[in-house]
């Protein structure tokens, strides 16, 4: 029982990050029309930019400790938005009328470009990255109806959860109540209809790319203290983010968040059983196959016959 609570305490924050990653991937998939395999890699470069900015601030002696981190974060986020807009304007806009396959190939190419750039400009080394909320973990201890309980909750995970929650809520608000949210939904559901009602779909696509990559940078900055900073630091998170999006069904953006939470917890629950050690990923992908076969519209999609 204690092991399960502990699995949840670590799995939920981790899953929230997969969920945010998956949200951005699903957003691009639905509204800009491609599966972005470079998602985590562009964000990784932004994390490197953030790290270099921190080091620069510290080196110049302008800022100290945490102030440098918080001053550098906006730089990292903005670089993510800029990557998103550049990818859209310089690459996707030229091929999106050609075929979805060519967009996909470009995202695969970008993966290599970002990874190569990280190796060349920075280095393949692992570098440490500061936590947003440093300090000793919280320990919840006591005896209750469940017996003796002792659960450890990492302090930084509090920041992770809060940030994930605030972002999810503001994204929900953005999609539902703002003009850009309406435009994004319309563009995703019927691009020709969107143009007919006066939506500049090219601009919507740029905004979608900017939002999605910026979210991935947030995820990168939050996982960096755990993974350390290196060229493939977000490989796993991206893979599980795609998985979260599949689980949630690409048709529902917020399904990806729930999908992420499920995966995060599942990963830790599997860990409880020593016999399954090393099979976490296999089990999660087996789950994905089940979902794709039996409920391809995602486990959270409303039960509703889809018409041709």
């Amino acid at each position: 029982m204690n092991a399960l609570l502990q699995a949840i305490a670590i799995g939920v924050p981790q899953g929230a990050l997969y969920g945010l990653m998956g949200f951005g991937i699903a957003l691009i998939f639905r509204s800009a029309g491609t599966l972005n395999f470079s998602h985590g890699y562009s964000a990784m470069v932004s994390v490197l930019i953030t790290l270099s900015t921190i080091q620069w601030f510290l080196g110049m002696g302008w800022l100290e400790g945490h102030a440098a981190l918080f001053a550098a974060i906006p730089v990292g986020l903005i670089s993510g938005a800029v990557f998103g807009v550049l990818i859209d304007i310089l690459l996707m806009r030229r091929v999106k009328h050609v075929s979805p396959a060519s967009m996909l190939m470009i995202t695969l190419g970008l993966l290599l470009v970002f990874e190569g750039a990280a190796n060349l400009i920075w280095s393949p080394d692992y570098e440490s990255f500061p936590r947003i909320l440093p300090g000793a973990p919280f320990v919840f201890q006591g005896a209750g109806v469940l017996g003796e309980v002792r659960v450890i909750f990492r302090r930084n995970d509090l920041a992770v959860m809060l940030i994930a929650l605030v972002i999810s809520l503001s994204m929900a608000g953005l999609m539902k109540y703002t003009k850009i949210g309406l435009a994004i939904r319309a563009r995703g559901q019927d691009p020709i209809g969107a143009q007919a009602v006066g939506i500049n779909t090219n601009r919507v696509d740029s905004i979608v790319w900017a939002i999605a990559i910026t979210l991935a940078v947030v995820v990168g900055i939050l996982v960096a203290p755990i993974t350390r900073v290196h060229p493939t630091m977000l490989m796993n998170t991206q893979l599980l983010g795609i998985t979260a999006a599949v689980l949630g069904g690409f048709s529902s953006l917020f399904g990806a968040i729930w999908g992420g939470l499920i995966i995060g917890v599942l990963e830790r629950v599997v860990d409880i059983f020593p016999a399954l050690d090393g099979y976490e990923t296999a089990i999660i992908f087996f789950l994905i196959i089940l979902v794709l076969v039996f409920k391809p519209e995602g486990i959270f999609a409303p039960r509703q016959g889809r018409k041709a």
Partner: protein
């Protein structure tokens, strides 16, 4: 109102629209007819910039709109519907109409519709009620399009096109796939849009009853070329038209 001047559209070696010219008079219902594959939809797409154009120019109210981006058409006052519906499938009819109006104004993209924009919200609500009544879709406002009969979906698309009060409306086969009764209702809606609201209408339609009944003028297209033009009576009597197009259907 709308002047199509020597427009040509090629797809590789295929000439879909061949040096086509036509003028749609303000306030009229102008029909564009022709056999399947004649190039009518291609011409529509080329006018509204959704599709390509190889040559020629298009003028709206005397202004060259040949290079206007597709999403600016509605802002210029030209709305359209599609042969295959282009509705937002996961939005309710209400939201579809809302989207038809919301982008008509230069408001910041991040503007929140609720709260501070309560006046705007109220205005949209009134407009939606108004167009829904005019197009007969009031009972469908809170359904999603897929759950509606086809004839209703067609009228939803017309409602979405006119909610921003365009001066001109292009309708691509609005009666295709409709029952006899649905077509009769649609006649009425289109006729009223023209006569009561003063919207200039360019209509592609196969239903000859409808075309003959409500059109002021008809252009006939075959293999991308204009082969005849005139009043319904003139066109119906043109032997060339009877040969390529009306031939079989005239007896009906």
């Amino acid at each position: 109102m709308l002047e199509v001047a020597n427009v040509g559209v090629r797809f590789g070696g295929l000439v879909a629209v061949d040096d086509f010219s036509m003028t749609v008079e303000q306030g009229s219902i102008h029909a564009l007819i022709g056999p399947n594959g004649a190039g009518k939809t291609t011409l529509f797409n080329s006018i509204t910039r959704i599709g390509p154009r190889t040559s020629g120019k298009v003028y709206f109210k005397g202004e060259d709109i040949t290079r206007l981006p597709d999403h600016r058409m509605i802002h210029a006052g030209i709305a359209r519907t599609f042969q295959n519906l282009q509705l937002f499938a996961r939005m309710t009819v209400y939201e579809n109409l809302y989207a038809g109006y919301a982008f008509h104004f230069k408001r910041p993209l991040l503007s929140i519709f609720a709260g501070s924009h309560r006046a705007f919200e109220e205005e949209v609500r009134k407009r939606i009620a108004n167009v829904a009544a005019r197009t007969g879709i009031r009972s469908a406002l809170f359904s999603t399009p897929q759950n509606l009969p086809y004839g209703m979906q067609k009228r939803v698309e017309i409602a979405r096109a006119i909610i921003s009060e365009p001066e001109m409306l292009l309708l691509d086969e609005p009666a295709a796939g409709l029952t006899y009764h649905e077509t009769e209702e649609l006649d009425r809606v289109i006729y009223d849009l023209s006569r009561k609201n003063g919207i200039t209408i360019l209509l592609v339609e196969h239903d000859m009853n409808m075309v003959m009944k409500i059109s002021d003028r008809i252009s006939v297209m075959s293999f991308g070329r204009k082969i005849s033009e005139g009043s319904p009576r003139e066109v119906a009597g043109d032997p060339e038209v009877i040969r390529v197009y009306l031939g079989g259907e005239e007896s009906a």
